[in-house]
Structures are given as structure tokens and as C-alpha cells.
Amino acid sequence: MAAPVASLALGVPDADPAATQRRSRTRGLLRTLEITVPGAILLVLLFFCFIWPLVYPVPSPTYGSVLDASLPLWSPGHIFGTTNVGYDNMARILYGGRTTFEVAAAVQVIGLVVGGLLGVVAGYAGGIVEAVLMRVLDIFIAFPSLVLILAIVDGLGQSELHVIWALSAFSIPAVARVARAGTLRLRDQPFVVAARLSSVKAWRIISGHIVPNLMPQLFTFSLLGTGIVIILESGLDFLGYGIPDPAPSWGGMIAYGQTVMSVALSPLVVPSLFLFGTVVCLNLVGDGLRNRWGVR
């Protein structure tokens, strides 16, 4: 039923099989490139942020000479120029990227583990456990995320660790929601019912049947969420509530760029491009994997 309906609705004529095959092959190649190209860019970026400073003498991001202050783009020794106190922008991009990736990865791992666990338990247990857990998570979801994060970071004091805690308050409920919905869908599937009927213990059903089946969905969801976390983190840095000051961050660099944008655009454009490029690549990989694995 499904196939003829689809072709009727799409109005796709049945062309000769060779052309169809050729088209499907190029489409397959395109779909592979859709994942591998942004994935490769991300890997290169990760390499430069984490390994490059170990093998190459990158200047310190928080030390510089006033004699080198406010150098323009492509200056010798400082290809991205320097800030108004002579910090090397290239080093600040690399070390800022390091913080960005660390925070994003930590937040999503915490979100996946804690949120995933809460969601699966709530979905599988049902009843009062589910009601209480979901109401508590509703509090976090009804809350404007940036407002909550600002309040938490401000309350705990500024540091990378506290930024991670605050952003986790956003990722945990989001993952928990998806995990619960997925568990509810899986709970009445024949293979789970069969396991339950053959008196497999609840935690074994969860760890052996439900979690493995949820993994692709949760993984792509948190990959797409990573972009949002990076954007939120840059917003925090921009407002001055993120990574505390001399330490570099992309959001902080953009905030500095805004103050000099009437004089020079490069301090604004360079970190903006890195921020945008990273999130685009993450979103492309996430979208591509989602299409490939057929999860929604």
C-alpha cells in the first residue's frame, strides 16, 4: 500500500532502471559526503584545539606585549591579529575552542547519562514515579533556559565547572523527555513484552532491550543538542556570565569584537565564523546521521 501511494503523491515517473540506479548512486555518495565532510572539518578543528598547542609553540592566550596590541589580520606571527592588550587571537581561538568543546561534551554526556536514565526509568516504571519525575522536569522546561542558566551561574559563581552544571540543567530535561517518549513506544513492543513474560528482571530489560534501541535516537538528539549548548554557552560568555575573564572563550571574543566593530571587523568576524562553522558542522553531522539511521 505504502509504495504506490508514495509514488502517486510524489508523481515520480518510473524512468529507465539504469538512470534510477545512477541517480541513487550519486545520491548515496552525496549523503555520505553530507556526513563525512563536516565530520572531517570538526576533527581538524578538534586536532587544532587539543593537540596542536602540544606540538607547536602556540603563544599564551592570556599573555602578550602591549607593543603588539591591536595588530590587524595576517600580521606576521599573529595571523588572526591581537587584542587591545596584545593577546594573540589565534591562541585565544584555539584555547577558547578547547573550552567550548569541553563544556559541550561534558554537558551532553551528563545530559545523556542522567537525563537518559531518568527518562527511561520514568517511562518504564510509569505511575507515581513517572508523574513526580516529569513534573520536576516540567519545572526546568517551563523555565526560560537562558534565565535559569544565568541565575545558576551567578548563584554558584563563575567557572567552567559551574557553566557545565548550569547548562546541564538544560540538557538533562531535554534528553529525559526524548528518552521517556522512546521508552513508552518501546515498552509495549512484542520483544519487550516477551522478555517481561519470561520473567526477565526489569533492570535487565532496560539495559539489554530498551537502552540499546534508544541509543541511535538519543545520540543524534544530543549531537543536534550540542550545537544549542555551544550557542547558549557563547551567549553566557557574551553577557559576561560564562568563562571568567582573562580565560579565552568565543563568546567573550565576540563581546570584545563588538566593542571595536566600528574600527576593525576582524576581531568580531573571526570568532563568529568559528562559532558558526562549528555549529553548522555539528548540525550537518547530526542531521545526516538521523536521516541515515531513520530516527526522528
Partner: protein, 352 residues
Amino acid sequence: MSASVTLGPPERIPGHSGTEPDGRPGGAYVRRLARSPALRLAGRRLLIAIPVLWGVTFLTFVVENALPGDAAQALLGANATPAEIRAESIKLHLNQPLLIRYWDWLWAALHGNLGNSLYSGQPVGPIIAQRLPVTIDLVVYALVVTLVISIPLAVLCARRPGGIIDRTIMALCMAGLSIAPIVLALLLLQVFSGYLHNLLPALASGTGNDPRDLTMPALTLALPLAAFYIRFLRADLIEQMQSEDYTVTALAKGLSRWRVLTRHALRNSFIGLLTVIGLNLATLIGVTVIAESIFGLAGMGNELLQAIQHRDVPLLEGIVLVFAGFVVLVNLATDLLYSVLDPRIRHGRSGS
């Protein structure tokens, strides 16, 4: 979803029945609505909203009081002696235990008194009343812009999925989803106030009365949201066109694809879109803080940043309460509209 759809004469197809008036008198409609599960649903959602709002205020209170520094210190500055700080904190009742202070605040708030700002000494209610209209204007403006952009573009995409128009719009959407609001705001600033010679003013006059002031902040909010809506609506439209029986029937009867898309599928997709709007609102309010801060709009977001800076707990609590209440109310409204628009929900199960 498709299982409950029965193929029959067009009058019985969902999506038609709610929208073709067939001489239905208005009064009867209202009466039927009052008896419907929608109102019971509204009551239940309101009851659920109470613990949510309570939790939000309690969380803010605890978090804001976790740090050693307090409002007395922020008020008097770094040069104040410990005795001065102590006197000031007794004056502001900051020396009492956390739970007692929270209870005092909550009790007053339940009587409609949100207390006085610790920093300026003015009552919180009027401060919020002054700032709220700017933010509401901004959010409504942004939502209107979003819908005006996203609905036609999504229909264009769904008209020929995989075509050149579709691919271009999808690529733009990917860019829109990936751009951080701070980057977008500064880009708009550079384009409209820089390259286009101050077509729109870089710094708002602050009051938000001039729609030109609100345009750039609203675009900052609207463009990423539009990207999200276009993707959502496009996926939904394509699915409706491919797998729903009513569209296949309409196509089989000889209606043009365009007509089926705009008259039949789009109407049903609006229902899904409505829920998404409700869910996105919390994020949207978060972005208003950034937009207001960059464009210097004197709205709730800027007030919030100041309240955080001054550790002004009563003002912060008031703002947070208004934000959370706003989100809860809009979600309730979307739920209700949802059941008005979708007869299957109105007559069937009372939503879970």
C-alpha cells in the same frame, strides 16, 4: 494517526469538519465548547501549573542565596565595613534564615505584593509593569515575522521536495539554525546600521515605542525560529501529502497538487505547528535577554541582567515569576486552541 482516519465522503474527513461552518450557530458552538473536555483539560493544566511556578521561584531563591556575597554588599560596594554591611543586611532582613525569607516573600506574593527592589527600593510590581510591554511587543513582533516568513517558504519547499527551491531554502534553514543569536544580532547591526547607512538605528531609544527600534531585535529572534518552523512544517506537509488518506483521496478526485497542499494539508499542519510554538516559547524568551542587551531595549531581559548583577532577589523573583507564568499560560492556550482546532481531541480522549 492514520489508523483512526476513515475514508469516507469528504464531509467526514478530519480537517474538513471543523472548518466548514454548514450554518452552525455561534451560541451552540460556545455551549458545546463549555461542555467539552477542553475546559476540564484547562482546569487540570492550571492545577499542574501551580507546582511548576512554585518550583521555579523556590529554585531561583535557593540558587541566588547560595553565594556568600549578598545584596547588602552589592549595594554598599567594596569599601563598606563589616558593621555597615551587617546593619544593612538587618535592614533588608537578609540575616534571617533562608526558608523564613522565602516564606515571607511567598506569602506576600500570594497577596499580590512582590516586595521592593533591594537595589532601588521601588516596588517590584510597577517596575515590571513598565518593562513588560516592551518584551511582549518584541516577542509578538518576532512571532508574527516568523510565521509570515516560514509558512509560505515551507509550502514552497513541500511543493517539490528535493527541487532546487527546496534545496536552497533548506540550506538557508541550516544556516539559520546554526547561527548564534549574538552573531546574528551583530551581523544585522553591521548590515542595517553600517552598510545600509543607518536604515535601522543601531541603538534603540529604549522605550520600544518606535517599531523601527524593535525590528532588528525581532529579526534576531525570528530568523533562527523561522528556520526551525520551516523545517518542521515542510516535513509535516510532505508526510501529509504522502501518507495521509485524505490527501490521496483529494488527489485521486483530480484536485491539483498545489490546491491539496495549501487547502488541505496546510490546515492540518497548523495544528502541529501550534504545539511547536508553545514549546519554543521558553527558548525565545531566553533569546530576548541577549537581543535586549545588544540593542539596548529597556525590557524584562535587561532588567533581569541588572537584577542578577545587583543580587536583587525580590526583583529577580518577580521577573522569573512573570517569565515562567507567561510560558505556562501560552502552553495552556496552545493546548486549548489545539483541542478547538482538532475535533479528534475535542471529542476523543482528554489529552494526557
